[in-house]
């Protein structure tokens, strides 16, 4: 993934925005721990899922409205929980969450998600 991106980088170097974005991307790839990248991938997936459902709702139908609410809330809720997890396990935030160990953070995340999905599936049908 990173290989082709960096090779295509120099050709449109004229655009400053592109330079800025590519620098950001490169530093993200270099400096972010794998754990956080993994969380980010999951966050991207929930965002994509939520956007797709919202587009379907707007363009096609919101008819079983409870199903839309459940599906969309599942994406949003999962995003929020995962983002919290990311904030708590990020080593740079260790001073903020002194008493929250990464294991405790993950346990909170897992419990919150299970409760969320319980409500989602109750509301879905």
């Amino acid at each position: 993934m990173a290989g082709p991106k960096s090779s295509s980088k120099p050709s449109p170097a004229s655009s400053e925005t592109y330079v800025a974005v590519s620098t950001l991307w490169k530093s993200y790839l270099d400096q972010t721990p794998d754990r956080l990248k993994f969380i980010d991938a999951f966050l991207a997936f929930t965002v994509l899922s939520g956007v797709l459902q919202f587009v379907y709702c707007v363009l096609v139908t919101n008819f079983p409205f409870n199903a839309f609410l459940a599906g969309f809330a599942s994406s949003v809720g999962q995003f929020v929980l995962t983002a919290s997890l990311r904030a708590q396990v990020n080593p740079e935030n260790r001073s903020e969450f002194k008493e929250v160990s990464p294991e405790r953070a993950f346990a909170d995340f897992a419990l919150g998600s299970i409760v969320l999905h319980f409500f989602v599936f109750n509301f879905l049908g």
Partner: protein, 441 residues
């Protein structure tokens, strides 16, 4: 024992009495009109099983009603010139009879009597007193007030093909009430005038030149008109009594041949005495498609089957027989307004049954099945059944709709993603921890 037998006898007399009075007719006949002169009409009634009782207008007995209960099923008032009656015959008491399901056959005349003011209450507008119907056509030897009137065959009351009938008397204009049933109309060339001589024919010409204002003329006037009340009792106003007489029943028409008077008055009497065009709703039932019992309540969008059973009275056998002859019956499913109005058609193969299947509206509330069939000459058919229509219960809605699959997929994939994420997170714990640590250091 004696008590029992006397009770039996009383019961027996009561039943025979009620049977005899089931078609009893009181004829209030003016003494100036001889009963023998109307023998064809009265004889025909007696032959068809009517039990006639005669009485003069000023006699006090037999009474029309006792303690507000009518003593007779039908009353014939052939006293067109009588101005004063016995106490029990008043316009109010006659209206009271109609509301007690007694039928009236009333003869009017050009004279002003209590009955002419009664006719006005039934939306018949009579011309000024002493203005009989006059016609100079067709040419004939009879006086100009003795008129052969062509019978229209459009009324369901009359049998088709009745020859013209002789008429003498007063016409009337018809008011706007839809309960009126025109039976005989005046000839187009006839008019009502206040003199039997042609002396003031100039006045008529002047009136007709003014567009006919104030002129009593033409075929919009009625001569014999029926009225059916809301309780289906019937009253007929005839403009003259002579059309019922033997003289007119046998008088040859100007065109030759016998007149239609005998047949016409028989048809009119049959209608007014409820022997003809008498319908009733035997019963209605309604249920969901595929069921046979009426449910306590319907759900919106249910498929409903509504059935009505209608009978017509057969006077020859005195029984009610299923009747399938109505082709314009309508059913309304109303909540304030008719949400559904559909035709209720006879079912072929089962006489007297009318059935329709329809979908309940997507609207909950207290609905009524309404049958309301009112046609001139026929008994009114009215039926109303109230049913509640409720929204579906919480477990009656459709589930797992195809339109919702993207939402289901979204929720399921998020859950699956969460489990995958958790599994990978826990599996990669040691390695990730080390990596993280090295990165931070």
């Amino acid at each position: 024992m004696r008590l029992l037998s006397s009770a039996l006898v009383t019961l027996l007399t009561l039943t025979t009495f009620s049977f005899a009075s089931s078609s009893s007719v009181l004829v209030v006949l003016d003494p100036s009109l001889d009963r023998e002169n109307y023998s064809i009409f009265f004889g025909g009634l007696e032959k068809r099983g009517y039990n006639l009782t005669f009485r003069a207008p000023k006699d006090t007995s037999p009474a029309i009603t006792d303690y507000g209960v009518p003593n007779y099923d039908h009353v014939i008032l052939f006293a067109p010139d009588t101005k004063s009656y016995a106490q029990d015959i008043t316009p109010q008491s006659l209206v009271g009879l109609l509301s007690e399901n007694t039928n009236l056959l009333i003869a009017l005349s050009p004279k002003q009597t209590p009955l002419t003011s009664l006719a006005a209450e039934f939306s018949l507008i009579l011309p000024p007193p002493e203005t009989p119907l006059i016609s100079h056509h067709p040419a004939r030897s009879e006086p100009q007030t003795t008129i052969p009137v062509t019978v229209s065959s459009s009324s369901p009351i009359l049998t088709s093909g009745i020859p013209p009938v002789w008429f003498t008397g007063a016409p009337h204009a018809l008011g706007s009430t839809p309960m009126l049933v025109p039976i005989l109309r005046a000839p187009a060339e006839s008019f009502a005038a206040d003199s039997t001589s042609d002396a003031d024919s100039d006045a008529l010409v002047t009136a007709s030149e003014k567009g006919g204002e104030g002129l009593w003329a033409g075929s919009q006037m009625g001569l014999v008109t029926g009225f059916q009340t809301n309780v289906n009792s019937r009253v007929v106003f005839a403009g003259g009594v002579k059309m019922f007489s033997d003289e007119y029943a046998t008088k040859e028409l100007p065109s030759g041949g016998p007149p239609g008077n005998a047949l016409f008055v028989t048809d009119v009497a049959a209608w007014v005495f409820q022997a003809k065009l008498k319908l009733r709703i035997d019963g209605v039932d309604h249920h969901r498609v595929g069921e046979s019992e009426a449910p306590k309540m319907y759900t919106t969008n249910d498929e409903i089957v509504y059935t009505a059973h209608i009978s017509a009275y057969d006077s020859e056998t005195s029984t009610w027989k299923p009747y399938s002859g109505i082709d314009d019956l309508q059913l309304e499913f109303t909540m304030l307004d008719p949400h559904i109005r559909t035709s209720l058609l006879p079912v072929s193969g089962s006489p007297g049954t009318y059935q329709v299947q329809f979908r309940a509206p997507d609207r909950h509330g207290v609905f009524k099945f309404v049958l309301n069939w009112k046609r001139k000459g026929y008994s009114y058919l009215e039926s109303s059944t109230t049913v509640p229509v409720v929204p579906p219960r919480h477990d009656q809605y459709p589930r797992f709709l195809s339109a919702a699959w993207p939402y289901y997929a979204g929720a399921i994939s998020t859950s699956a993603g969460f489990f995958l994420f958790a599994a990978l997170w826990l599996a990669g714990d040691v390695k990730g921890e080390r990596k993280k640590g090295s990165k931070v250091e």
